[in-house]
Symmetry: C2
Subunit: 216 residues, 2 copies
């Protein structure tokens, strides 16, 4: 027979996965809105983010209640602490997607200075990292958590390439400075989104091993 | 006679204030390193950040233990939850200071393209916001928490001014694109640092009133 604590933990995990799926969605949709210059969709990102924020609060409240009512032991305590940290990272990813949408609205309908290939690649990688990091949490899988860091290296490399390319483009053609800077910021937001998955990976390692690592 | 819970809460608050002071320091020192182009100090920021991270973990562990052992009631539960959120925001501010230091190292010894006046102003305001937001927490003072949001508006305005100025400078003189972009990022990091204090203010309002607000 499962304990009350375990039952509630399962319910928490289900909500956590739902939040993760919402975050994957918001990353994807925000970058789609950018590449398609679909300003209506960019505006809809705000609502998507509100829903993520609501779910974060709900999960947080459940964690607090669980802690207060069930008096979990050391190991369970660490699991709850990890969930509380994970939801903060997920919530921040949503905020960065909002930043992407805001920047997309700034760019508006002006023609894009380059075909966007690397930015959607970064988005795809970042989405996979969200899924993988949550998977690592559910399975308490240190190896999988470490993999997230390797994916992050790839995201960082793409960002560096975008950075170099855009700086060169600006130097050659100062007229594009404004949009190039906006695209640079979007690259940076995606790079930060990926960092948050790395944070989750690090927390999972801490949860399992008790070691505080920086895998970046 | 004070309860065991209250005693432990006082000890937590002392640590929280210490963490706040460390974060104020790291903001100040990171921007000083930039304005003085003092690369040795910029490198020392990493260690300052490690100490902030350690203290965060320590406070977090104490919160978790307090929750598990003392079974606090609804109101106390909310206070602990607030502390756990505050330390995450403070920790992220430290990360942004590290980003400022990294960017300072990238700029290196090349002559600055403009005298830095607005960036130190943003730093000063951000430091004050940290202090004020923690003060609002300790006093459970909604009005003070709301003031933090107004300060944030001022930081945002300075950032917008920096943004406009640097974009114009880049358009006029593409040779400076690289450094101007770096300064733009630093402005953005400071703007994010100020946002984190606003987050703290919002959490304080939530703690006191139970209302989830976005004061920005």
């Amino acid at each position: 027979m499962r304990s009350q604590f375990e039952k509630q933990l399962t319910s928490l995990n289900v909500k956590l996965l739902k939040m993760g799926a919402m975050v994957q969605d918001i990353i994807e949709v925000s970058v789609q809105a950018l590449t398609n210059q679909d300003l209506e969709t960019a505006k809809a990102i705000y609502e998507m983010d509100d829903k993520i924020d609501e779910l974060e609060l709900q999960i947080e409240n459940e964690c607090m209640k669980l802690l207060a009512l069930q008096q979990p032991l050391a190991r369970d305590l660490r699991v709850i602490g990890t969930i509380m940290k994970i939801i903060t990272d997920l919530e921040r990813m949503g905020d960065h997607a909002v930043n992407i949408a805001k920047t997309t609205l700034k760019i508006g309908n002006e023609p894009l200075i380059k075909p966007l290939i690397d930015i959607p690649r970064m988005a795809k990688l970042s989405e996979d990292m969200v899924r993988k990091s949550l998977d690592a949490f559910l399975k308490a899988d240190v190896k999988l958590a470490e993999e997230v860091a390797h994916d992050d290296d790839e995201v960082d490399e793409i960002y560096e390439a975008i950075y170099t390319e855009l700086i060169e483009m600006m130097i050659k053609d100062p007229k594009i400075v404004k949009q190039a800077t906006n695209l640079l910021f979007i690259g940076r937001y995606l790079e930060r989104i990926a960092d948050h998955s790395t944070n989750i990976g690090e927390r999972v390692i801490y949860m399992v091993t008790g070691d505080r690592v920086e895998i970046n």
